[in-house]
């Protein structure tokens, strides 16, 4: 009986401890390279981090533009063309609708500034300061001929789908943007 009792206590204690120590997690896939969607993703990520969630954003395909430094990329003809027509960098991305060759981006930036909305660059820095993990997708980088040197230094090592699934499997909040 006494043994049973103590075992229960230990088990209970362990359960309580794991419950207390188990961090809440939020995992986001950033597929889009659009300004509006980046704004949503970075707002959610900073908000989640502020609310105590360990937050990761996986940047894949067009999403890589959000963590690119903004210089030209690519080795092959296609790779360089891609960079020419679709340059990365958080200041270069435009809204998903009404971009109108960059006019929309300019307009949105002005409207956001007028309302005191935090600019994307600052929002990304806030996310970094709060410990949001920025994880680039290796495969997209290979396809698009983007190297680690093309990315901002705050990103973590490139990873693949298994890293995302491992993270997403423990996360209460999973988003694909």
């Amino acid at each position: 009986m006494a043994v049973d009792h103590s075992t229960t206590d230990v088990a209970q204690l362990a359960a309580e401890q794991t419950e207390e120590e188990k961090p809440k997690k939020c995992a986001i896939v950033m597929m889009s390279g659009d300004m509006d969607k980046a704004m949503a993703a970075l707002s959610i990520a900073t908000g989640a981090a502020a609310m105590g969630y360990q937050t990761s954003i996986f940047f894949t395909f067009w999403g890589l533009k959000i963590i690119q430094k903004g210089g030209p990329t690519g080795r092959s003809l296609f790779g360089r063309m891609l960079s020419l027509m679709n340059r990365g960098g958080i200041d270069r991305i435009g809204p998903s609708r009404l971009n109108m060759g960059g006019l929309g981006r300019w307009m949105f930036k002005r409207m956001m500034a007028a309302k005191g909305v935090t600019p994307l660059l600052e929002l990304r820095q806030t996310a970094i300061d709060l410990g949001v993990r920025l994880i680039p997708c290796q495969m997209s980088m290979d396809v698009m001929e983007i190297t680690e040197d093309d990315l901002i230094p705050e990103v973590e090592d490139c990873a693949g789908v298994a890293t995302f699934i491992a993270e997403a499997g423990q996360a209460e909040i999973n988003l694909f943007i």
């Binding site: 908000g47 609310m51 105590g52």
Partner: protein
Amino acid sequence: MSEELKADLVLDLKGLMCPIPVVRVSKAIKEVPVGGVIEATATDPGVLADVPAWAKSTGNEMVKTEREGKAIKFWVRRLK
């Protein structure tokens, strides 16, 4: 009356919009001792819903909210 609550830290969140007010509160709460109170003034009406949600999620206490024209004043207490 606000005089009843002694604030350990005063935050000015005027002009800031989502998600920054919540981010600032979450950073500031670490600077007050457990049981300590933050007094903040914001202009984003979003804080009326977001700060209580933040408090509930992080296990802190939303003490009260007051509106003074366009400004929203609120007090949160650190519980852990």
